[in-house]
């Protein structure tokens, strides 16, 4: 009995060590990218590698954003603004659509519900390539090419299925009795949803928000073909503009990458507590 306990303790310790190693590996590339963005050129690919920067410079950032004395090398400010608008709007719309639909799937019985819900899940398997060209044709017809609205519409509908899935699971965890009690007190269906269920669903909504924002903020292939000027280009497309140069200018790539990451990391930090609680998919009873 005792030796078994001991062996288990050793195994547990080994697991912890292994998990810590995994964690370090997960963190290392981010560390490397961020510190490379502040490095002077000769330290970047130095041999042997320089683990902690000895000199720090902002020159990579100045190249991207410009400074009072230097013009920016690419319209990064515009890309930033576009990405913000696109991610926030499409995130908002997909949460509205997805929450409503998720509520319907979770609380009501209606015809074709099961198959419809299955197709919601399967939307995740749709190949982007089969969407790109038809969307380009469609958007050219309705003058949506090279507009932020075009991207917002597309991302809203790409995000909505996953939001529906998350919200369906989350509403399943909220006892239906609560909103029924509100109904008895004289609330309408909409009021019960708005005043009782939605506030309780905040964790699910935060999780949906993060995943929607991530997709819109990072999507590349569709944005590449639907945009054509800095007026509508988003950050990943802007990044790609400079792929050729980035094979030479690693500092610039790392600075751009760091900048792209900061907003989502900050956001995640503030809502991670609710977000993690929102990812249960109604699966834990």
């Amino acid at each position: 009995m005792k030796s078994r306990r001991k062996r288990e303790r050793v195994v547990a310790a080994l697991c912890t060590v292994f998990a810590v190693i995994v964690l370090v590996i997960l963190l290392f590339p981010t560390y490397w990218m961020v510190q490379t963005s502040f490095r002077v050129g000769r330290e970047i690919n130095a041999f042997p590698p320089v683990w902690f920067p000895r000199e720090v410079t902002l020159s990579s950032y100045i190249k991207l954003f410009g400074s009072p004395h230097e013009e920016a090398s690419l319209p990064f400010r515009e890309y930033f603004r576009n990405s913000f608008l696109v991610a926030l709007s499409s995130g908002f719309f997909s949460i509205v659509l997805g929450t409503l639909a998720g509520y319907a799937f979770s609380r009501f019985e209606f015809r074709g519900k099961r198959n419809l819900f299955l197709s919601v899940i399967l939307m995740r398997a749709i190949p982007g390539l089969a969407l790109g060209l038809p969307l380009l044709v469609l958007f050219k017809r309705v003058q949506l090419v090279n507009t932020l609205s075009g991207l917002i519409l597309t991302y809203t509908m790409l995000n909505t299925p996953f939001v529906i899935w998350l919200m369906e699971g989350f509403f399943a965890d909220i006892p239906a009795e609560l909103s029924e009690a509100a109904r008895i007190d004289g609330c309408s269906r909409w009021q019960a949803l708005w005043k009782v269920d939605i506030p309780l669903a905040a964790p699910g909504i935060s999780a949906s928000a993060i995943f929607s924002l991530l997709l819109s903020w990072n999507e590349f292939a569709i944005a590449l073909i639907l945009t054509r000027t800095p007026a509508s280009r988003t950050l990943p497309v802007g990044l790609f503009d400079f792929v050729g140069e980035f094979f030479i200018d690693w500092g610039g790539m790392c600075a751009a990458g760091t900048i792209i990451l900061i907003p989502v990391v900050v956001l995640t930090f503030f809502i991670q507590k609710w977000m993690v609680r929102g990812l249960t998919f109604g699966a834990i009873k």
Partner: protein
């Protein structure tokens, strides 16, 4: 009375209006309000020419919206999707290699240009830009490769001595394939120096193979259009690349991922003893800010192949107009502007390109003669020799598809050492299938 006054007014009006209108027309620039969507090749030296576009906008009143500046591979994919989805695209960058594939969507420029407009272009480049009797692009500059080598290595007496001791003949920029192999092997000292580098990925790999194939006396197709690149010359050509990469490991190992930009970068970083490249990198290579080999490299002709001669693959970059453009006159005017003698001279000076304009080339030559820089002189002399005999890739619409069927097979020999005959037979079968459809 009222009627008379009215008539007078009418007469005065009808006299004055046409005058004032025509006066306004003279004020008005020809393409005021026109917006041209342009899809251009981007990157380093190519973009210098685009700094001239504001001049065009000033002269004509048109606005040029550069919708994309991409490497040629990315550009071709974008342009194809724009063509296929209909409209909204006016001017593109293209190349004599790619234009035949795009011909369904390109405006025949000969319907908009007079022979006078074309007389400053070298006739061979106009010929290469013409498909089925239609001029589908205006050439910008011509690309033929020459050898770049490191003078600090080749002229180092210790290296010369060591080389002679090992191979029994004098060290020099290789003049044939055996010397190429020996010298490449000799200078390979990883990880800081390799003898040679070549483009081992995608279309550029096929380009490099094609060049060697020609110098071995072969070609992709014979005169009847039969696939023949898997015969002996093809095998020799591929074997040379396999020997360099797989057997002697005389190049950086990343070569199967290298395209044009990467090979040039490797040489500029001082990692390579000698290699072949386009004229367009020359200015960058001479610039000590961009290049570690500035002042330390020389130029030499291509080594001759087993066929006893060196045949070089070449082509011209250029600009074309989309058939779907709503403003063909403005679009053609832009293409004409970008390929004018003055602008091509500007581009050649800034980027080191070889202009397709006779007058620009003449001016370039005079400049070089004036400065008397021996390397500049040598370069023009070499390029001129090669321009006389370069071979364009086959002008068939399926070329791109053929290329993309061949290169993964060639890589199979490069990275795994698969027998070259096996590889080429498989590739040839694929090409037959593509053409047979």
């Amino acid at each position: 009375m009222v009627v008379r006054r009215f008539l007078v007014a009418l007469v005065v009006f009808s006299l004055v209006v046409p005058f004032s209108l025509s006066a306004m027309a003279q004020e008005k620039k020809p393409f005021e309000g026109v917006v041209l969507n342009a899809y251009f090749i981007g990157g380093g030296a190519y973009e210098k020419l685009y700094t001239k576009i504001p001049e065009f906008e000033e002269q004509t009143g048109a606005k040029v919206n550069i919708a994309a500046k991409l490497s040629h591979f990315e550009l071709n994919k974008r342009v194809a999707q724009e063509f296929a989805s209909g409209g909204d695209i006016d001017v593109i960058s293209t190349h004599t290699t790619f234009a035949p594939g795009q011909k369904d969507f390109l405006l025949p420029l000969n319907e908009y240009l007079t022979p006078e407009d074309l007389k400053d272009f070298t006739p061979s480049t106009i010929e290469a830009s013409t498909v089925d009797g239609k001029l589908i692009m205006l050439p910008r500059h011509t690309d033929v490769r020459i050898m770049y080598y490191r003078t600090d290595l080749f002229e180092d007496p210790r290296e010369q001595e060591a080389f002679k001791a090992k191979y029994g003949y004098d060290l020099r920029p290789p003049t044939n394939w055996q010397e190429l192999l020996d010298v490449a092997e000799f200078f390979t000292r990883p990880p800081n120096l390799y003898g040679f580098v070549f483009t081992g990925g995608e279309e550029p790999l096929v380009g490099t193979f094609y060049e060697l194939l020609l110098s071995a006396g072969g070609n992709f197709f014979d005169e009847e259009g039969n696939v023949i690149f898997n015969q002996e010359p093809g095998q020799k050509a591929l074997q040379l690349l396999v020997d360099l990469y797989y057997h002697k490991k005389a190049t950086p190992e990343g070569v199967p991922n290298y395209r044009w930009d990467e090979v040039a970068k490797a040489f500029r970083d001082g990692l390579i003893a000698f290699y072949f490249d386009w004229p367009g990198w020359y200015t960058m290579m001479k610039d000590p800010k961009e290049s570690k080999v500035a002042g330390k490299f020389g130029l030499a002709p291509y080594p001759v192949g087993p066929a006893g001669y060196a045949k070089i693959w070449g082509g011209s970059h250029g600009f074309a107009v989309a058939k779907s453009t709503k403003n063909p006159e403005a679009a053609v005017a832009l293409v004409k502007f970008l390929t004018s003698g003055d602008n091509l001279y500007f581009e050649a000076k800034e980027g080191g390109f070889l202009p397709t304009s006779i007058s620009a080339y003449q001016r370039l030559k005079e400049d070089v003669a004036k400065t008397g820089d021996p390397l500049d002189l040598k370069r023009l002399e070499l390029l001129e020799q090669e321009l006389a005999g370069f071979v364009p890739p086959p002008k068939i619409p399926e070329y791109q598809e053929i290329v993309s069927a061949i290169w993964p097979e060639l890589q199979k020999s490069l990275v795994e050492g698969r027998d070259v005959k096996v590889t080429l037979d498989i590739a040839a079968e694929k090409v037959r299938k593509i053409l047979g459809r």
